[in-house]
């Protein structure tokens, strides 16, 4: 047997994407499991495949809706792949796609659904912090000092980054304003019809310095899903295939050293992942037409854009402006659905879906002729992940 190229490039395609209605936190009328089911059905319908063709599931962040239950509920003939990405919460959003793609590329399964479902009303919210009387391990060395919420965990990393690199908070504001701008054209967006002005951003209350209110993601209920199939199968289906050009996940040296001891502290943790991604995909940063970057907090997006080579530390204050970050004409259109800040906090999976829509020409904020889309998950967590998607033209 001849040697098989050790790459995902061009071997797997996204056949379908879908989501439920997106709700404000706690407002879903449906149970979380039903949200997952609805998103999976929507993605299969979009692909033009029968749900019964699905033979695998992948997710991340300890999604509660287990593949075995889904396979039983959906009456699947057989389950062949059941996969959970370990750790780092939303940082696994692109990794789950990569894991599913690896299964499809190697023949472990033929049609794998990647999904994320959240009903924070049913299961409690992320942003609240613990109410336990005692904590141990790393938490014992942070929580008693009032470091409880994700914003409080990431703010010091951002402070260090801004100071060390001379990057201005105006870059963070541009990220927030671009997201809200895009959401105004997106009827799915929770913040559709609720534009954000520069003044409102600047006057919003501090959550934890250096983050004001609109630097922070939403918390929502909903579900989103994507169906991956072998590239040759995708060419026979309902929508033009969007190919996976590359996928990468991981972390920097000792990124998870406890109690904020990561050696590279002022990073989004993409400095090793992004170069591996580009190498596998055969793509350079300058080839990327549209970018989706997970926003837990705007500062992490700024770091991530730089670490993906989309601008340098020195250029950041000049390049990361509202005008440059908005579709259709910006130099670096970012989070064109509104993302976690203004479309829906679908734990970053909406950003993967949006990358696919851009390459089909279906975005609410379409970048003309977009052929290569980057979708990054994580920033500032010890395990981040990336996918690069491309059209048939980009695949060459």
């Amino acid at each position: 047997m001849g040697e098989v190229a050790r790459t995902l490039r061009g071997r797997v395609a996204v056949a379908g994407v879908g989501e439920t209605t997106y709700y404000r936190r706690g407002r879903s009328p449906d149970a979380e499991f039903l949200l997952a089911v609805k998103a999976i059905k929507a993605a299969c319908a979009d692909a033009g495949i029968d749900v019964r063709e699905v033979d695998g599931f992948a997710s991340y962040a300890d999604d509660r809706n287990q593949p075995s239950r889904l396979a039983a509920a959906l009456g699947l003939p057989e389950l062949r792949f059941s996969n959970m990405q370990w750790g780092s919460g939303g940082g696994g959003a692109a990794a789950a796609v990569g894991n599913a793609a690896a299964a499809v590329a190697t023949g472990l399964a033929d049609a794998v659904v990647v999904f994320r479902a959240l009903a924070q009303g049913q299961f409690g919210r992320f942003g609240g912090g613990t109410r336990r009387p005692a904590v141990h391990g790393e938490a014992a060395m942070t929580v008693p000092y009032g470091v409880l919420s994700p914003a409080q965990m990431f703010a010091m990393r951002t402070t260090r980054f801004l100071s060390e690199r001379g990057v201005d908070r105006s870059t963070m504001r541009a990220v927030a304003l671009a997201a809200y701008h895009h959401a105004q054209q997106n009827p799915r967006a929770v913040m559709h019809g609720r534009p954000l002005t520069t003044e409102a951003y600047d006057e919003a209350r501090w959550i934890v310095e250096p983050y004001r209110l609109y630097d922070c993601c939403l918390e929502n209920d909903g579900a989103a899903a994507m169906v991956l199939v072998p590239a040759d199968r995708a060419r026979d289906l309902a929508k033009p295939p969007v190919y996976l050009l590359g996928a990468a996940q991981g972390g920097e040296h000792r990124a998870a050293a406890p109690v904020h001891n990561a050696p590279l502290y002022g990073t989004a943790c993409f400095t090793t992942v992004a170069p591996r991604l580009y190498e596998q995909a055969g793509v350079k940063p300058g080839d990327v037409d549209v970018v989706q970057v997970y926003e837990n907090f705007t500062g992490g997006v700024v770091m991530a854009l730089i670490e993906h080579g989309l601008c340098s530390y020195e250029e950041a204050n000049d390049v990361l402006t509202f005008e440059n970050l908005v579709a259709p004409d910006g130099r670096l259109p970012l989070n064109t659905s509104g993302g976690n800040l203004a479309e829906c906090y679908m734990h970053g999976f909406g950003l993967q879906v949006e990358a696919v829509r851009q390459l089909r020409g279906e975005s609410c904020n379409q970048v003309p002729g977009a052929a290569v889309a980057l979708a990054a998950a994580g920033p500032m967590v010890p395990v981040t992940s990336d996918c690069l998607y491309g059209t048939a033209e980009a695949l060459g």
Binding site: V135, Y145, M156, T159, H260
Partner: protein
């Protein structure tokens, strides 16, 4: 007098004993940091193995309880009921030059509205919670005299 009001979760030693020496140290007003007995590499938080040489013989020397502010944040939105009246408060990440530059998280005592300087010299304040069951001691930080007169 504590920096933050009572009611936050209390620190409990790890069930596997990994950080017991640290918490015993704070009760004695000593700042103990893990160091490899073999290659002398400092590491924090504690782990069962040295990340540099993979040795498993780790010591817990007490180090001078002083450091420099590596980063900071000022919290305005309280996410725990105990903190509702305590905002703003300042959290600092303190780099310990006497322990290979490892970092620890604590609160910066003093005026929570005052500017915080990266690199500011700070010293530890051992904050006893003797009434807790079991009692514990946190490590807080304050600017040195020298820093105040800069």
């Amino acid at each position: 007098m504590t920096v933050l009001p009572p009611g936050l979760p209390a620190p409990a030693p790890a069930p596997d004993g990994l950080d017991a020496r640290y918490w015993d140290g704070t009760r004695a007003h000593e700042l103990r940091v893990q160091r490899c007995a073999g290659c002398r590499t400092w590491q924090w938080g504690p782990e069962w193995v040295c990340h540099a040489c993979l040795g498993e013989d780790l010591e817990w020397p007490a180090v001078a309880p002083e450091g420099r502010v590596y980063s900071w944040e000022r919290v305005w939105h309280p996410v725990h009921p105990a903190l509702a009246e305590a905002v703003p408060y300042v959290v600092v990440l303190v780099e310990l030059p006497h322990a290979g530059g490892v970092r620890m998280v604590g609160n910066l005592a003093g005026d929570a509205h005052a500017p915080v300087r990266l690199g500011a010299a700070v010293e530890a304040v051992f904050e006893d919670h003797d009434g807790a069951d079991p009692p514990y001691t946190l490590v807080q930080w304050r600017r040195t005299e020298e820093e105040h007169t800069r």
